[in-house]
Amino acid sequence: MTPLPLVLRFADVGRDDVPVAGGKGASLGELMRAGIRVPDGFVVATAAFRSAVAALDLGSRVASLDPADGDAVAAACAELRSVVESAPLPPPVVEAVTAGYVRLAAECGRSDLPVAVRSSATSEDSAEASFAGLQDTYLWVRGADSVLHHVRRCWASLYSVESVTYRLRRGIPETDLAMAVVVQEMVGARSSGVMFTRSPLTGDRSVIAIDASWGLGSAVVSGDVTPDSFVVSKVTGEIGRRTVSTKTRWHQPDPRGSGVVESDVPANLRDVPSISDDEIAELTAIARRVEAHYGCPQDIEWAVSRTAAPGESVFVLQSRPETVWAEKDAAAAGQRVAAPTPRAFDHVFNLLGGKRPTES
C-alpha cells in the first residue's frame, strides 16, 4: 500500500476528500472541477499533520486537563502550541511542502510567489471547526520556509484554549484530531468581499447579497470596514438595492514583502463603489453556478484581481454552505407553507376574507 500523500494539488481533490484535505481544501478542489475560477494551490494533507504532530503524542497531556481549571488549560495550551510550532518537522513533510510551493511558484511564474496559508478543518461540526482555527488565515506569505512556518501555526491553532476546552467538554478523543492546511496563490486584490446566495436579512433565495470593499477581503471579514452592499436578483441580474458606504480602512500586502497591513483608504476612493456593475454581474453569474453545483445556498469569499484582464478578474477564494437560514428552514419545516386550493380563486377568498394567511 502506498503511503497517503502528504501534499495534494487542488486539481486532485473534490468534495469527497474532506478527511484528507479538510473542508476548505476539498471545496476549492471541487470548485475548480466545476470550472469556477479559483486561485491555484495545494493542500497540506492530514497525513502530514499526523506524521508531524500526532507523533509528538500531545493527546495524553490534553486528556489529563480539567476544562474547569482555566489557568491550567491556558498554561498547558501555550506550551503545546509552542511545541507544535517549534518541534523539528519530519523530512518527508518538509520536502513535500517545499516541492509543492516551488511547483506552484514556478507555474505562476514567480519564485517568491505570495500565498495564503489557511487551516482546513476536517470536522463536520461547525462549532468545532470554528474553534479549530477557521480564522487562521495567513496572507501574503512568501518562500517555502515561511510557508512551513505558517502551516505549523495553523496546526498549533488546534491547541488554542477555546479549541482544547471544547474538545474536553464534548469528550472528543484526541486520537481523532486532524487538520489539513491550504496553500493558495494570493490574488492581488483590488477589491474583495463576501457574497451569500440568499439574503442574510430575510432568507430570500431569489437574491444574492454582495458585500464588497477595497483591498483584501480580510478587512470585510474582520469587520474593519463598512463595505458596499448590493442585493442582486438571481432571476434578472438587476441590482435591487445598492448601498455605497464610506470605506475608511483597507488591508493591503505589507510593502516590506510579507504579511498584511491595515491603513486608511485614500480619500478619492472612500465613497466610490468598490466594484463595477460588470463585476457585480460576473459575481452574480459565479454565485449562481456555485450554488447550482452544490445544490444549496452558499457563503462565498471572492476577490477581484488588480492585474487580471476584465472578464477574467473575479476569483472565488472559498465557498461553504450557508448555515443560518438553512437551520431556520429546518426548524420551520412543515409550517406556514402555502398550499393549493380546490379552485384557484379560493386564494382570493382566503386573502380578502378578513383572515390573513399567516393567521391560519
Binding site: 438571481k234 432571476v235 445598492r242 386564494h347 382570493v348
Partner: protein
C-alpha cells in the same frame, strides 16, 4: 413601525383655509362633497393620481360618478368582506378620499358568504363574462357616439311632423344631455365591474410573492403577469406604423422635432398623392386609437390625440428617425413572452415545496386570466368613452354659445351638470316661447368668477393627506391602486430624514441616470418634453407612452408599481421612481437630477 392612532396627524380638514382669491369655490361642487366637522376624526388622502389638478365645476362629475360605481361594486354587488366603498370630499378644488372598512368580525363573516357566491360566479365564468363585457362597453361607446345635440332652427324639420314623432326637438335637448350623463354613469359601473375582482387576484399573487421572496422588486410581479399584446400599446404601435409609412412615402423630412402639427398637416397637403395617402392612414388610425386622453380621462381639458395632435406629432420625429436608421420598431413580442415565462419559471423553481409551487401556479394563472381586463379597460373607459363624452358635452357648450348664453363653448365646463340642465331649460323655453334666453346675464358672471377661482386654486399645494394617521393601512385595494402604504404615509410625515434635494418613492423601473428635469404640471404640456430629459409629473397617462421613447427617466408624485408610469417605463427600459408625493414641488424644470430606479430615490444635483 406604525404609530398608535392619533399620535401623528396631518392637518385636519377643518384647518384648511380657503386659498386667497378663491373665495366661494364651494359653489362649484355639490354639497355632499364638502368636508363636515366630524370628518376631522378620519384619515383622508389626496387622490392626486386621478385628480392631479384643480377640478373645474363640470369635472366634479368625474369623482362623483366613479365613486358611486366603485363603492356600489365592492359594498353592494360583490360584498367584499372587509371593505365597503370610498367616500370623497373636495376642498380648494382637490379631491380627498377615504375608504370605509368593515371591522365587525360578525359582519365580515356574513359578507364573506355572499362574496364567495358572487365573486365566485365571476371568477368561475371569467372569460365568458369578460367577452360579454367587451360587447357591453363597445355598445355603450356606440351609444355615446350616437348622441346628437338637436338643431334648434327657425322651424323644426318637416319630418318631425310627417312622421308624427309627437315631440319637438327642444325636448331632445334635455333627453340627449341626460343620456350623456346616464351613459357616463353606466360606463363607470362597467368600469368597476371587474376591476376590484381583478385587483383581488393580483394582490393575492403579489402578497404570496412578497412572503416567499421578501426582497423581490415590486415590479417583478407585474413582469410575470403583464400581457404581451396589450390594447394600451396599440396607439403607440399605430404611431410607429405611421412613421414607417412616412419613410416609405418619402415624407420623412416633414417630421422634425418642434414642428407644429398644423404646419406638418399643411405641408402634407402639398405633397400630392403621397401626402394624401399618409393623411388617409392617419384618419384610419385615429378611430379609435387616437381616442387617448393626454390625461387619464378625468378632466375635460385633457384633450385626446384626436382632439389635439400635439402629443402624437411630438413622438413622430423620433420614430421616423429610427425607421430611417433601419431600426425595427415593432415590439419583440416573442422575446417578451419568453422572458416572462423564464422569470416565472425561475421563481417557481426557487420555491421550497411542491405545495408552494402548485399554489404559485394557481395564483399566477388566475392573475394572467384577469390581467387582460386590468390592462385594457382604461383604453375603453377612461380614454375612448371619456373622449367621446367630453366631446358631446362640448357640443352642448357650443349650442349654448350659439344661443348667446355662454361666450365660448368651453365655458360649459365651468358649470355643474345640474346647472347645465338649467341653462338648457332656459334655451328650451326661449326657443318655445319665441323669447330670448335669460342665461347670458346669469351664467357669464358665474363662469368668469369660476375661472378666477380655478386660477387661484391652481397655485395651492395640497397636503398629501389630512387627519389623524390610522394605525395601519391594510386595505389591499388602496395599496395597489394608489401605491399608498404605511411606509408612504411615514415618508409623507417626514419620518425619514430627507434633505431638501432628495425625494423618495417606489423603485418602479431599474437603472440610474442623470439628466435635466422637465416638470410638467399640466398634461397638455407633454409636447414640451425634449429628447433626453427626465419627466417629472404629478401622474402619467397611457397616451404619454410614445414620449417615453425620448426621455431618460420618469418621476411621478403618485402611483404604485402597477401604475402606468411604472409599466411603460419598464417596457421602455428606462428608470422610474413613482409615488414620491412631492417631486413636482421639489424639482424645477432645468434642475439636474439623478433618478435611481433601483432604490426609488431622486436627487437634485445642485
Amino acid at each position: 413601525m406604525s404609530q398608535p392612532a392619533g399620535e401623528r396627524s396631518f392637518p385636519l380638514p377643518s384647518q384648511i383655509a380657503t386659498v386667497p382669491g378663491a373665495e366661494g369655490w364651494e359653489e362649484m361642487y355639490p354639497f355632499f362633497s364638502r368636508f363636515q366637522p366630524e370628518d376631522d376624526g378620519r384619515f383622508w388622502f389626496y387622490n392626486s393620481m386621478h385628480f392631479p389638478e384643480v377640478v373645474p365645476a363640470f369635472d366634479g362629475l368625474t369623482s362623483e360618478i366613479p365613486y358611486t360605481a366603485i363603492g356600489a361594486n365592492t359594498a353592494r354587488l360583490f360584498s367584499f368582506p372587509t371593505t365597503l366603498g370610498i367616500e370623497y370630499r373636495i376642498v380648494n378644488g382637490r379631491v380627498y378620499i377615504t375608504a370605509n372598512p368593515v371591522t365587525d368580525p360578525a359582519q365580515v363573516e356574513r359578507r364573506l358568504v355572499h362574496f364567495q357566491e358572487r365573486a365566485g360566479h365571476y371568477y368561475a365564468n371569467w372569460q365568458r363574462l369578460y367577452d360579454g363585457w367587451q360587447q357591453r362597453i363597445e355598445a355603450l361607446i356606440a351609444e355615446i357616439e350616437a348622441v346628437e345635440v338637436p338643431r334648434l332652427g327657425e322651424l323644426d324639420d318637416l319630418e318631425v311632423v310627417t312622421s308624427s314623432r309627437g315631440y319637438a326637438s327642444n325636448h331632445l335637448l334635455r333627453e340627449e344631455f341626460h343620456r350623456c350623463i346616464d351613459l357616463y354613469s353606466k360606463m363607470w359601473h362597467h368600469h368597476t365591474e371587474f376591476l376590484m375582482l381583478g385587483y383581488g387576484a393580483y394582490v393575492v399573487f403579489f402578497e404570496f410573492c412578497k412572503q416567499a421572496f421578501p426582497e423581490m422588486g415590486d415590479q417583478m410581479v407585474a413582469r410575470m403577469v403583464a400581457g404581451i399584446d396589450v390594447t394600451m400599446y396599440r396607439p403607440d404601435d399605430e404611431l410607429k406604423k405611421l412613421a414607417a409609412l412616412a419613410v416609405d412615402l418619402d415624407l420623412a423630412d416633414l417630421f422634425v422635432e418642434g414642428n407644429e402639427p398644423d404646419k406638418v398637416l399643411g405641408a402634407l397637403q402639398e405633397r400630392g398623392d403621397a401626402g394624401r395617402r399618409w393623411l388617409a392612414a392617419l384618419e384610419e388610425a385615429k378611430d379609435p386609437w387616437f381616442n387617448v386622453s393626454v390625461g387619464d380621462g378625468f378632466y375635460h381639458h385633457h384633450l385626446s390625440w384626436a382632439d389635439d395632435l400635439t402629443v402624437p406629432f411630438a413622438a413622430l420625429p423620433r420614430y421616423v428617425e429610427q425607421v430611417r436608421a433601419g431600426e425595427d420598431l415593432s415590439r419583440p413580442t416573442d422575446r417578451l413572452a419568453a422572458e416572462r415565462e423564464r422569470i416565472a419559471d425561475e421563481y417557481r423553481a426557487l420555491l421550497g415545496s411542491e405545495d408552494e409551487r402548485a399554489a404559485f401556479d394557481q395564483m399566477l394563472g388566475l392573475c394572467r386570466q384577469v390581467f387582460p381586463y386590468i390592462e385594457s379597460h382604461k383604453f375603453y373607459c377612461e380614454h375612448w368613452f371619456s373622449t367621446r363624452f367630453f366631446q358631446k358635452i362640448r357640443a352642448f357648450g357650443q349650442l349654448l354659445a350659439d344661443r348667446g348664453v355662454l361666450a365660448d363653448a368651453e365655458d360649459v365646463f365651468h358649470l355643474r351638470h345640474v346647472e347645465i340642465e338649467d341653462a338648457l331649460a332656459d334655451v328650451q323655453l326661449a326657443w318655445a316661447s319665441g323669447g330670448t334666453e335669460l342665461g347670458a346675464r346669469h351664467w357669464r358672471p358665474i363662469v368668469a368668477r369660476r375661472k378666477e377661482i380655478v386660477a387661484a386654486l391652481a397655485g395651492w399645494s395640497p397636503p398629501p393627506a389630512l387627519g389623524p394617521v390610522p394605525e395601519s393601512l391594510n386595505d389591499p385595494a388602496v395599496k395597489m391602486l394608489w401605491g399608498i402604504t404605511d411606509e408612504t404615509v411615514q415618508t409623507w410625515l417626514g419620518d425619514e430624514e430627507l434633505d431638501e434635494d432628495t425625494v423618495r418613492g417606489y423603485a418602479a423601473s431599474p437603472g440610474v441616470v442623470e439628466a435635466v428635469a422637465r416638470v410638467l404640471l399640466n398634461a397638455n404640456d407633454i409636447g414640451q418634453i425634449r429628447e433626453g430629459e427626465i419627466l417629472v409629473c404629478p401622474v402619467t397617462a397611457p397616451s404619454w407612452g410614445p414620449v417615453f421613447g425620448k426621455i431618460a427617466a420618469a418621476v411621478s408624485d403618485i402611483g404604485g408599481t402597477m401604475s402606468h408610469a411604472a409599466i411603460v417605463a419598464r417596457e421602455y427600459g428606462l428608470p422610474a421612481v413613482v409615488g414620491t408625493g412631492q417631486a413636482t414641488a421639489k424639482i424645477r424644470t432645468g434642475d439636474r437630477v439623478r433618478v435611481d430606479g433601483d432604490r426609488g430615490v431622486v436627487t437634485v444635483l445642485r
